[in-house]
């Protein structure tokens, strides 16, 4: 059989820094080929070359053994290449149906046939196992639903090569399973699928072969059935990963936070829990179970309707994040680019946003030296890879951006820190560093809430896990009761 796609000796550099060096990569029709590597290893760059978003400096691309010249995204579309990017490309003001058929809106003639469009979109979305109202606005959907629309959009055209860049990052376990079913079907239809992911477990579940990118060079392609997790991690990191999760030496103190029966706009319906100093409590649950909304209600980012929150035994009357912060509560939000950091500003400025009084004199004049030193110290402590503290956060890799999002709260000495998806879209190396950091904070007595879609992450880092479902706490597991199965059962309501 001939290769559907063959990339031969591809090189690409950006202003002197080489992102890809002689990368060779082949995918057969009817194959799911995983592409893994740390952030910044060049995965996205390689795929953008295939999709025409970037042009290669050197090398050749073959589709079905014929050399092709992909100059722009239009060329790649004509070749039957579909791509689902890590960053969504939906138009928030348009309906789901219009988004799905965005690049074919003209095909039904000059006037749009809304009814037909919606019908077709619905059929398409149902065919991959989901149901989303095709007339709702894309901007009103949850991130997971947006991802599903994004997938439908790619499938709305006849694709022969499908590229998925971290598709599962925002999906819950059930949704991921449906995505896998869809990919399996496409594979049987002979589509060549390139699957980029940080989650090694997914790769073993779904991929046929795997290729590792490290520092812009490609490894041999390995058959998944003939390799194991450790070998892949070794190829990714260049070293063996002893343990992903740090050893917990929990010294749990007095209760710091108590949340009693809080409600928020139908998303949170009577949630109560307590949190002790030095304790790490995980909140598990499917996307849409109300995890994030619970966190936002505690942080007063959204207004809660009912319920009480006590901090160290005293009732808290907070109505805004500002008041929450002043009482010693911090939150690292789920969506780092929209809410966590300001991409166009420097690391230094991002860090001092949470504590600008600490770096200024009276009347707000900035203590430049102190601010810089403060930032430099945190950059060193968190091993943020950057030239200096004045680097714009937008230029950093995902993992380093996440570290900045965390660093913001380290200069506040929070009593309670809520971390929503601590390692989404973060490579293995940075993950370990983030886990260590969380662990270190709890050792200092900070009470921490970790929300995550990755069950393994919660089990590895937490002392206790609360499982949420439909806005309520479905169950609670102590450390010795942790099991992936129980958490999943509780989150889908099957107990």
């Amino acid at each position: 059989m001939v290769n559907r796609v063959e990339l031969r000796n591809i090189s690409k550099s950006f202003g002197g820094i080489s992102a890809l060096k002689n990368v060779t990569f082949k995918v057969m029709p009817g194959e799911i080929h995983a592409l893994v590597g740390e952030n910044g290893a060049g995965k996205s760059t390689l795929m953008k070359i295939l999709s025409g978003a970037y042009t290669k400096d050197n090398g050749q691309i073959f589709i079905d053994d014929t050399e092709v010249n992909i100059k722009n995204t239009h060329d790649s579309k004509k070749l039957g290449i579909g791509i689902i990017y890590q960053e969504f490309s939906l138009v928030p003001e348009l309906s789901v149906a219009e988004n799905v058929f965005l690049n074919q809106l003209g095909r039904t003639g000059f006037w749009m046939k809304q009814g037909k469009l919606q019908k077709e979109a619905e059929i398409l979305i149902n065919s991959i196992g989901f149901s989303i109202n095709p007339s709702s606005k894309a901007g009103d959907l949850s991130i997971a639903q947006q991802q599903i629309v994004e997938i439908s959009k790619a499938l709305s055209e006849h694709v022969r090569i499908l590229i998925l860049d971290e598709p599962s990052a925002v999906l819950g376990p059930q949704e991921i399973q449906k995505l896998f079913d869809t990919l399996d079907r496409l594979k049987k239809e002979g589509v060549a699928i390139i699957y980029i992911s940080h989650h090694l477990s997914e790769i073993f579940q779904i991929a046929d072969r795997v290729t590792v990118l490290k520092d812009g060079t490609s490894s041999e392609s390995l058959h998944v059935s003939e390799t194991d997790r450790d070998s892949i991690i070794r190829l990714m990191l260049g070293r063996s990963l002893e343990a992903m999760y740090p050893v917990r030496n929990s010294i749990i103190g007095e209760e710091v936070l108590r949340v009693v029966d809080i409600y928020q706009a139908d998303k949170v319906r009577g949630v109560s829990f307590g949190l002790k100093a030095g304790e790490i409590v995980g909140i598990a649950g499917l996307v849409g179970s109300g995890r994030t909304e619970t966190a936002r209600a505690v942080f007063a980012a959204d207004k809660r309707e009912k319920g009480k929150i006590y901090l160290s035994g005293k009732e808290l009357q907070i109505r805004s994040p500002r008041e929450a912060v002043s009482k010693g509560i911090g939150m690292v939000p789920e969506d780092r680019k929209q809410h966590g950091v300001i991409l166009s500003l420097s690391i230094k400025i991002n860090i001092s946003l949470t504590d600008f009084r600490g770096v200024s004199y009276h009347f707000g004049f900035i203590k430049a030296k102190k601010e810089s030193n403060n930032a430099i110290e945190l950059i060193r402590k968190l091993a943020i890879k950057t030239e200096n503290e004045n680097q714009e956060v937008g230029y950093l890799s995902g993992g380093n951006q996440q570290k900045v999002s965390l660093a913001k709260w380290l200069n506040r000495n929070c009593k309670v820190l809520i971390i929503d998806e601590p390692t989404r879209g973060v490579d293995v190396g940075a993950k370990v560093e983030i886990y260590n950091l969380i662990n270190e904070l709890s050792d200092k007595g900070v009470a921490i809430i970790v929300i995550s879609s990755e069950t393994a992450e919660l089990m590895g880092t937490c002392d206790r896990i609360l499982v949420m479902r439909k806005g309520q706490i479905q169950g609670e597991l102590a450390k010795n009761e942790f099991s992936e199965e129980d958490i999943l059962r509780m989150s889908i309501g099957a107990n």
Partner: protein, 318 residues
């Protein structure tokens, strides 16, 4: 090949400092086409002409940095100008100035309140305020210009006089500029304004009271419009309800020529000042070489497009 690369570097340099570049080109062109341009008299005239727009542009810059816009500034100039002239008939001068300033601050505060607390779109909120305040200006003045009382000659003397050899209004513009520049570069206030325009939600979730900052930039813009109104009245000895019609557009144009981004988060005081000067020079030089007013507007528009296109190249080359 070598020359090509060098040419490219020059071009990138020009694009990066496009505001400075346009400013210098304007200076050279002005000096060539008119031999009176570089006379003290003309330069003073130029500075006096741009002062009101210049002072307000610093307030507008703050508003635009947060991602907002303020259309009411021209109306505030007129209303405060009229009020200031009226007040001179019954109040001592210091009180006249303070009361006039407070009026401007109050109008700006209403816009700020609507935008920050009620989350009205800044364009709509200030469009409404623009209409209301323009109307109030006419009501207060009964539609006719109000003369400054003779007792307040100190005001008119100040408006038309010089200190240290420089027109007084220009000194005030310079002062406002310096304060704005310092605030933006060395103060938390400016820092947070820029951060809000870059990503408002991230700022809010960092525990900062975004509404207070948004409120204050509109209040400041209102206050600075009042300063411009007082200066205009002082210079002409008349408060007229038709002052500052369309001025908001000149102010916004100056800020944009200065490279500020209308969606917020990007812009500097020095470039805004250059933008003001560029806009002023266009008018000044065309007057000197007797280009009719109608053509002036066309040319002004073309230069704005040119300036913004240059900034586009800058964004793309990044």
């Amino acid at each position: 090949m070598d020359t090509k690369i060098r040419l490219r570097r020059y071009l990138q340099f020009v694009i990066k400092y496009n505001t400075v570049f346009i400013f210098l080109v304007m200076l050279v062109v002005s000096a060539i086409v008119s031999d009176v341009f570089f006379t003290t008299n003309n330069l003073f005239n130029l500075v006096r002409q741009v002062t009101p727009v210049g002072i307000i542009s610093m307030g507008m810059l703050l508003v635009i940095l947060t991602g907002g816009i303020d259309l009411s500034v021209g109306s505030i100039v007129a209303m405060v100008g009229v009020l200031c002239a009226l007040f001179t008939q019954s109040m001592p001068l210091p009180l006249v100035i303070i009361t006039s300033l407070v009026c401007g601050l109050m109008v700006g505060s209403v816009s700020g309140y609507l935008v920050s607390i009620h989350k009205l779109a800044p364009f709509i909120a200030t469009l409404a305020i623009m209409s209301i305040v323009r109307g109030l200006g006419f009501i207060i003045s009964k539609g006719a210009p109000v003369l400054v009382n003779e007792n307040a000659s100190a005001l008119t003397d100040f408006g038309s006089g010089n200190s240290l050899g420089i027109p007084n209004p220009a000194l005030i513009l310079f002062l406002v500029f310096v304060i704005t520049a310092v605030l933006l570069k060395y103060n938390i206030f400016g820092r947070i304004i820029i951060a809000i325009g870059s990503n408002e939600e991230a700022v809010r979730l960092s525990g900062i009271k975004v509404s207070a900052y948004k409120f204050s930039v509109y209040a400041i813009a209102g206050g600075l419009s009042a300063v411009a109104g007082i200066i205009t009245t002082a210079r002409t000895a008349v408060g007229s309800p038709v002052m500052g019609v369309g001025m908001e557009l000149d102010v916004i144009a100056a800020v944009v020529i200065g490279g500020a981004r209308l969606s917020g988060g990007k812009g500097t005081a020095i470039n805004t000042l250059l933008g003001v000067m560029i806009l002023g020079m266009i008018g000044n030089i065309m007057n000197l070489i007797n280009i009719p007013a109608y053509s002036q507007q066309v040319i002004k528009g073309l230069i704005i497009i040119f300036a913004v296109l240059l900034q586009r190249f800058q964004a793309n080359s990044n």
